[in-house]
Amino acid sequence: MKALMQDSDNNSLPQPSYTLGPLQSGPPCCDPRPLIRVTDLSLHYGAKAELENVSLDIYQGCITALIGPSGCGKTSFLSALNRLTDMLPGCRISGRIRFNDTDVRNPHLDVRLLRRDIGMIFQKPVPFPLSVRRNIELPLREHGMRRQAEIDAVVKQVLQDVGLWEEVKERLDSPAQALSGGQQQRLCIARALALKPKVLLMDEPCSALDPIASGVVEDLIVRLQERYTIVIVTHNLAQARRIANYAGFFWVRERAGRLIEFGRCQQIFQSPAHSLTASYVNGDRG
């Protein structure tokens, strides 16, 4: 059991010396100002409709959880928010997405700047086959940061922010892919944070991790809420319930993913308006 308490398989270190804030279950407070407004979003892959008429607001400084069974378009929805759907062949989108005052779907928009503002974390950690330091340094350099001292400061700061600094400060120049799964995922979060995003999209960030590492990442997400707006896709209902302020429930109907219900997290879990939502959160369906 003692061995289990240490962060996953990083065996060289004793207890991590950072402390994480207390877990708040479903904090009710956050700024209800919409940062991202999605209106009538539909998404098709070729002839297949993936999402149909989704409208919802992402509120600033809140954690918004998207729940629902696999294949109901939650990941596609996330990808549409930072135009990662551009990379998918045959993907067509209609509807409106506004981020602050910019039209996300504007073809003349500089997607590099958009993606800098709206970072994304994937289900499987994707550390680049570079050193820990270079993983963070590479995107920074791509965005025009040149001075090494400045870069080193950012590297240290974001690694501290994700609670990884103490674990990796001795091996910043060793391969990032040698880190444990949980550490890799936190490195990916640090890499996204280095670009100073406003929004973090997280696509099941914990599902590929073991329970201990998953808990560490979950605590981290709660702490990040102070400074970032977070949209998280999760299959773990208990997790959504613990950390989210708002929740959206997706379900497949008439062969397309639809948003069935959206609201405050407590309301979705305790008094859902829709019977489908009720049976899903109670575990009767899905």
Partner: protein, 278 residues
């Protein structure tokens, strides 16, 4: 159980058979070639149509031809592979057309390439029988292999890298340069090796383009005799040239082996170095 044993025995038998063919080839060359092989053989000019003397001019000519072939083919091949994998949809008509033409090109017999090189480089472009004509002809031959292996290498680089890099606001060219090409490096090196191997071992295409002359070449416009052509000539046209042919073949094999190890080593070294620097 018996079935299992049979399968294992079969596999071992096949493996043994293949290695024994290779070992037989190698030992035959060693036994017949070692006698002629010496330092003098490597640094002297051939005498008496190659029956005695060395192969210095032939090694130089081979090196120049292979160098020209690779210098011409590698950038072109890499650029085509990048175009096919990163900037063309896999199922698009253009991409399919290019890949199909490459497959056809790869299966064209080398003698056809020789005739083409003779007609195009030697006569039409007026380069004559020269190392340059030979090198460029070999470049055309090596291109399909180079492109194929580079395409496979780039396609096998994880798509996750492309998505993650895009999600960090990196451009496609940055992802290509810093992530995908390094990930594909072993495949690229292997392709290069296959290309060099094919170029170095080529005979038919060179007889018509770089010629037979066994003098030391003074420039790349000179005609020169490649090692494989030398071996062919000694074995087929020169009575009493067998020992020299064996020695030359041994040199060719050793050279290819050395280049192969060097490329593998360089790739490994480069990949390790990349973890730290840009």
């Amino acid at each position: 159980m018996a079935k299992n044993f049979l399968a294992t025995a079969m596999i071992w038998l096949v493996a043994l058979l293949i290695s024994s063919v290779f070992l037989y080839l190698l030992s035959d060359m060693l036994i017949h070639g070692m006698a002629r092989l010496s330092l003098a053989y490597l640094v002297d000019a051939p005498l008496d149509a190659g029956r005695s003397g060395g192969i210095a001019p032939i090694i130089v000519a081979t090196a120049i031809i292979v160098l020209i072939a690779i210098t011409a083919a590698a950038p072109l091949g890499l650029a085509t592979a990048v175009l096919l994998t990163e900037f063309t949809r896999q199922k698009s008509g253009f991409g399919r057309f290019v890949e199909h033409s490459l497959d056809v090109l790869a299966s064209v017999p080398s003698i056809i390439f020789g005739l083409f090189g003779n007609a195009f480089f030697c006569l039409y472009l007026g380069l004559g029988f020269s190392l340059l004509s030979g090198g460029l002809t070999l470049a055309c031959m090596a291109l399909p292999i180079l492109i194929r292996t580079a395409v496979e290498g780039l396609r096998s680089a994880p798509d996750d890298y492309r998505l993650a890099a895009a999600a960090l606001g990196m451009t496609r060219s940055a992802a290509l340069l810093h992530l995908l090409l390094p990930a594909a490096a072993p495949a690229l090196a292997a392709g290069l090796m296959l290309g060099i191997g094919r170029a170095g071992a080529e005979t038919a295409a060179l007889i018509f383009t770089s010629g037979y002359v066994d003098r030391m070449p003074a420039s790349w416009f000179d005609s020169g005799r490649a090692l494989s052509v030398h071996i062919y000539d000694l074995a087929m046209n020169v009575p009493g040239g067998d020992a020299s042919a064996h020695a030359a073949a041994l040199v060719l094999i050793l050279l290819l082996f050395a280049i192969n190890s060097l490329a593998m080593g360089l790739t490994r070294h480069w990949q390790r170095g990349r973890i730290h620097s840009i």
